[in-house]
């Protein structure tokens, strides 16, 4: 197992380096935004002196790299600074929102992943049948439509015409689990529609790719049934690409959630990000971006490690 541990540690190190680079890009991008921050906060009527004073208070007169390292040092300890809009700690604002986003993404994942893999296996088993084609067309249709559009369609059918689920997903911390689930259902379904297609098609392709292998023929010649050939013999060997696409889609569920959250007015990080951008609340924007980036890198890492672990050659070296 030492070989696998080494690989994981190496991937982890690379992930940290990537995150560092991303943090520089985020900080640099915010730095390059036009306009003076102090001027923005104080508005047009501010005097020269108050602007200069605020610049001094905010430390804006110091060189960018000093401020970057201060920000980074704080971020490492979980301190993302103070919101410009309301003077509250960014971390404090971000934490409950992030929890909400994770809840929504988790719900979508719990529905989407088994559904996608199940459908993918079925599509591989009954390939070129009516089922395969319908599943393909529907999933491609869902993938090709923007998520806000899918969201509105779901609202029309499931909230306006049939009133199954609420159109606005205003969850809060004191709700019980059932209510939360009920209110989050529409955004979760929207996201399920978006991510299922990728995972399903990759599962199908990865399995079909293996069906010409000699060991699949061997299994058939041992009298193994078609469904077991796929689940026992093809699926375990197709895991690496499937794990990859699943992990990337899970990352997307968290980071790509912005539009969906806005459509359903769901109080997640995406919503917070959009609000902060309109308010020019840069510390919050930076923190949100960094959280998204960290999530994305983490899931990529999980994908890599998962793919490594699914390979018996690496798990059980000679």
């Amino acid at each position: 197992m030492s070989g696998v541990m080494g690989l994981i540690v190496k991937r982890l190190g690379l992930g940290l380096v990537t995150l560092l680079v991303v943090s520089i890009i985020i900080f640099g991008a915010v730095e390059m935004l036009p306009g003076d921050l102090a001027q923005q906060i104080l508005g047009q009527s501010a005097t020269e002196e108050t602007v200069a004073q605020l610049r001094e208070d905010l430390g804006l007169n110091r060189p960018a790299f000093v401020r970057y390292f201060e920000w980074l040092g704080g971020a490492v300890q979980g301190d993302f600074g103070v919101s410009l809009a309301n003077n509250r700690s960014v971390a404090e604002q971000l934490a409950p929102r992030f929890a909400n986003t994770l809840f929504l993404a988790g719900l979508a994942a719990v529905i989407a992943v088994p559904l996608a893999i199940g459908l993918g296996v079925m599509a591989a088993l009954y390939r070129n049948s009516v089922f395969d084609r319908v599943a393909n067309v529907v999933s491609l249709g869902a993938i090709s439509s923007p998520e806000f559009f899918l969201g509105y369609i779901l609202i029309v059918f499931l909230a306006v015409q049939n009133q199954v689920f609420p159109a606005i997903s205003n969850v809060s911390g004191d709700m019980d689990f059932g209510t939360r689930l009920y209110r989050s259902m529409l955004p979760a379904l929207t996201m399920t529609l978006v991510v299922t297609a990728y995972m399903m098609r990759m599962t199908r392709a990865a399995i079909i790719n293996l069906l010409a292998s000699p060991y699949i023929e061997m299994a058939r010649l041992k009298g193994v049934s078609r469904s077991q050939v796929i689940t026992r013999h093809a699926l375990p060997n197709a895991l690496a690409p499937i794990i990859n696409v699943v992990a990337l889609n899970l990352a997307y569920l968290i980071t790509g959630v912005v539009l969906v959250e806005v459509v359903f007015v769901y109080p997640g990080v995406g919503q917070l990000l959009v609000d902060s951008v309109t308010k020019r609340d840069f510390p919050v924007v930076q923190a949100c971006c960094l959280v998204f980036a960290a999530t994305f890198i983490l899931f990529n890492l999980i994908a890599d490690v998962g793919a490594i672990l699914s390979n018996p050659r690496l798990r059980h070296p000679k």
């Binding site: 010409a212 000699p214 023929e217 058939r220 010649l221 009298g223 060997n237 050659r313």
Partner: protein, 550 residues
């Protein structure tokens, strides 16, 4: 034992079609076959003869894109062509089992050997998991696998090729089938490993009185294994007879040519002059991949117009030596001399002329030719690269080369590699090497992917070219029959070292180095008693007896 002689499998007028170019084409044209209980029948023929297709059809199975269009396959009273899918499935693995050519590819890499072994017995409800595991260990012991108690609990990649092939035979035996289809089970193995597997298969088939269809293209192998031999050619039966009768007195012309294949023998050349400078000298070369040393102090000479055959099992360092000579793998010690002058170790540092002088021909002509380029372009490219010739001059030169490799220029110039047969592709590989006008060509297992007749044609061509152009060859092979027919000098390698070298005549006469002897004596001969005699000689007791003792 009247029961033993009863018929187990009857195939009548079997016709199989394959789907290609949007139409069904018949690939097996009405073959009959009768197999009795406990009998081993050898199916022999070149590639494309339909051996595997017939073997699979005996299980009521066709590969995707194939179908049985006519005829009957009756197994122990049951008609397989009209049986339902689940009826056929019930037979497979339990009463008819299959042993594939490449065990390494046919074991599922995701599961332990034992789980794959017990799959069929569990599926067909013949054994419980525990019983089947115990039985597997017993079979592993009978097949002389090392650590029979433990080997099944490994994954396929943790077990060597020869051991996997035996484990696959054990797996086929798991349900004690009445019939096993062996599809080229030793083709992918080294000669020394092949013997172990052949002996193991023969003894276990004997012990359980299992009937078998033994599919191979190697006559000497089938002579050891089969009671009767059926010769196939392009989906048709040529003839069938008892093994001894078939070997001694083949009736049909085609069979006779098959038997005569190994006859090509070149006249010996006079030894090189004492003071002649070798064209290529490999001097004390050592090489490593990473930290693993793969070549250790290898030295030999190759003279103009002569052929040095480098032989050894896979992993012995033959191809690595070639990589060192061409500069693809810079050696960590020693040097390569060309015409008495030291060559830079890395090909990047060699001059165009130095590169031109040494060319390669590869084993897999399929993958060595760019599938998107026409033959004319493939051969024209090195001419243009090395001599700068273009236009009509280039075309003329390509035509000359096509003439030299005995392919009609006007027919082949504009074709793609995919439109050629394996032997023709290998000829194109030769022409491409010749295009650079080299003095020295490395032939890396150039005939091992080819049928015997085709391979012989290639050898004759190489020999003719050597005479005409005074070429030096380094001929990498594991096939000692090839060595016999074309080599002047032989270098025997094992585990990265040269164990013995010398002129061919000396090398093929005793006394040999122990390892050379092992290699030489492991090459199957046409004599049906060869395997038994050899095993007696080597003192390997019969595997069945060993199992009975334990």
């Amino acid at each position: 034992m009247a029961d033993e002689k009863s018929v187990l499998l009857t195939v009548k007028d079997l016709r199989i079609e394959g789907y290609s170019d949007e139409k069904w084409i018949e690939i097996v044209h009405g073959v009959d076959l009768t197999l009795h209980r406990g009998e081993v029948m050898g199916l022999i023929g070149e590639s494309g003869a339909g051996k595997s297709t017939i073997g699979l059809a005996a299980m009521g199975f066709t590969r995707d894109g194939c179908r049985i269009s006519n005829g009957t396959v009756e197994f122990d009273g049951m008609e397989l062509t009209s049986a339902t899918r689940s009826e056929r499935r019930a037979l497979r693995g339990s009463r008819i089992a299959y042993v594939a050519q490449s065990a390494a590819a046919s074991f599922n890499p995701a599961h332990k050997l034992i789980d794959q072994h017990t799959e069929a017995p569990l599926l067909h409800k013949i054994d419980t998991k525990d019983e089947s595991t115990k039985d597997a260990i017993e079979l592993y012991r009978r097949l002389r696998l090392p650590n029979p108690e433990e080997i099944g609990f490994r994954y396929p990649h943790q077990v060597s090729g020869g051991q996997l092939q035996r484990a696959m035979t054990a797996m086929a035996m798991a349900c004690r089938p009445d019939l096993i289809i062996f599809d080229e089970p030793t083709t992918a193995l080294d000669v020394t490993t092949q013997i172990e597997v052949l002996a193991a298969i023969r003894d276990i088939v004997d012990q359980f009185n299992t009937a078998a269809l033994y599919i191979t293209h190697d006559l000497a192998v089938v002579a050891q294994m089969a009671d009767r031999i059926k010769v196939l050619l392009k989906g048709d039966e040529v003839e069938e007879a008892e093994t001894r009768k078939m070997l001694e007195d083949p009736q049909e012309e085609y069979t006779k040519t098959l038997w005569a294949v190994r006859s090509f023998k070149r006249k010996p050349k006079p030894a090189p002059k004492k003071d002649e400078t070798p064209l290529v000298t490999v001097r004390n070369v050592s090489a490593a991949y990473g930290d693993t040393k793969v070549l250790d102090d290898v030295s030999f000479d190759i003279y103009r117009g002569r052929t040095v055959a480098v032989v050894g099992e896979s992993g012995s360092g033959k191809s690595t030596t070639a990589r060192c000579i061409t500069g693809l793998l810079p050696p960590i010690g020693g040097e390569i001399l060309f015409d008495g002058k030291v060559l830079p170790p890395r090909y990047q540092d060699r001059t165009k002329d130095q590169l031109r002088q040494a060319q390669m021909i590869y084993q897999m002509a399929d993958t060595a030719l760019n599938p998107k380029k026409k033959i004319g372009e493939i051969i024209g490219r090195p001419i243009e690269f090395y001599s700068g010739v273009t236009g009509a001059e280039l075309k003329k030169r390509v035509d000359q080369l096509l003439d030299q490799i005995e392919l009609e220029p006007s027919l082949y110039y504009h074709r793609l590699p995919s439109e050629l047969s394996g032997g023709q592709k290998q000829r194109i590989g030769i022409a491409r090497a010749l295009a650079a006008e080299p003095a020295f060509i490395i032939c890396d297992e150039v005939t091992s992917a080819l049928d015997q007749l085709v391979a012989e044609g290639i050898l004759r061509l190489l020999d003719k070219l050597q005479k005409d152009l005074n070429l030096a060859y380094m001929f990498i092979t594991h096939d000692l029959a090839t060595v016999r027919s074309i080599a002047d000098e032989v270098v025997v390698m094992k585990e990265g070292k040269v164990v013995e070298q010398g002129p061919k005549d000396v090398m093929f006469k005793p006394p040999h180095h122990e390892y050379t002897d092992l290699l030489l004596s492991s090459v199957p001969e046409m004599d049906p008693d060869w395997l038994s005699n050899l095993l007696d000689e080597r003192g390997v007791d019969n595997i069945g007896e060993a199992a009975n003792k334990s």
